[in-house]
Symmetry: C2
Subunit: 160 residues, 2 copies
DNA sequence: GCATCCTGGTTGAACTCTCAACAAGGCCCG
DNA sequence: CGGGCCTTGTTGAGAGTTCAACCAGGATGC
């Protein structure tokens, strides 16, 4: 068992702190100014970018890095607000398609500027171009590491 | 209103994805192997490092980047598990002191190796030393940016 | 055809977090 | 002292997430 060195701990805790505070800031901003958490905002964004502003639930879950269950609850709430509509899927009768309503799109248009400003102000404005490059690489490496991990887990499961 | 350029969006989304998947992975690992979410784990860690394994709630909240309310609920749960005890604060009768029990410490000792392994495997093992340096700087810059922001907000409030 | 398994999606319960409201102790100043 | 005001910590309600269970429809193999 290898513990973290003092240096590693410092990096790890600093990273945790920064990410926690940053995402909390964004979440609070969005909740305060637009009455929705970031997870819901991202659903609206994903839908707004899809052809016809509609996606199957499973596609939407992938785009939002969300579990099926979470998405199902979230879309139910968004539907109650009138920002999203559900309709049946023609090609697969199990399927369910979420579509952004005009009202939902309008809400998104209202919410976006404040959110983008917050991201710009606290991420892009405080980092140098070199740091941004670095951040891109770091993100890719971490995500890659998780991918292979998941693949491994799947492989292990397949053994049984 | 300046939107994000295509490059900026790429960085931002990649970062979001990596962080989300990474923290979800860690959270699931802890929950599965030790029956607690990462937020609770961090409370136990903070207490274990404090002199006498005890801290006032407000200190603990600072160390864990947690709101008072969240911490209060969390400690209530941890107390129910028998991992933490609350006792009155002698110097300030409003105060409440949380102390890690022996049982709580034992649980932490059991949980730590798996958690540390997960962090090492998916963070330190996938990044080069240069990237780690970079990550430290990035974290610091982002946190700094938020600090000044909070200070600004406080200053604005003070105007009224 | 039909038994089996897999996939897509929903649901309910338990849990965690947030926010606002609140109690109660400290602090300060007239 | 006694009135405001700030700080500490808790509480309850409401919102969001997780997990396991489930239904229904597709896919596969006999």
């Amino acid at each position: 068992m290898r513990w973290l060195s003092a240096e590693e701990q410092q990096v790890w805790r600093g990273f945790r702190t920064a990410v926690t505070k940053f995402t909390e800031h964004l979440d609070r901003q969005l909740q305060r100014d637009s009455g929705m958490p970031m997870a819901y905002y991202e659903i609206l964004v994903a839908l707004s970018e899809a052809p016809g502003r509609a996606l199957r639930m499973s596609e939407l879950a992938l785009n939002c890095h969300s579990s099926r269950s979470r998405l199902s609850h979230a879309v139910a709430k968004l539907e109650k607000e009138g920002w999203v509509e559900r309709q049946a899927c023609a090609s697969d009768r199990r399927g369910s398609i979420a579509r952004l309503t005009d009202r939902g799109f309008a809400v998104l248009e209202t919410a976006a500027p404040g959110h983008v400003s917050a991201v710009r102000e606290h991420l892009f404005d405080v980092l140098t171009p070199a740091q941004l490059d670095s951040l891109r690489e770091i993100s890719r490496a971490v995500e890659n590491g998780l991918q292979t991990e998941c693949a491994q887990a799947r492989a292990e499961l397949a053994e049984f």
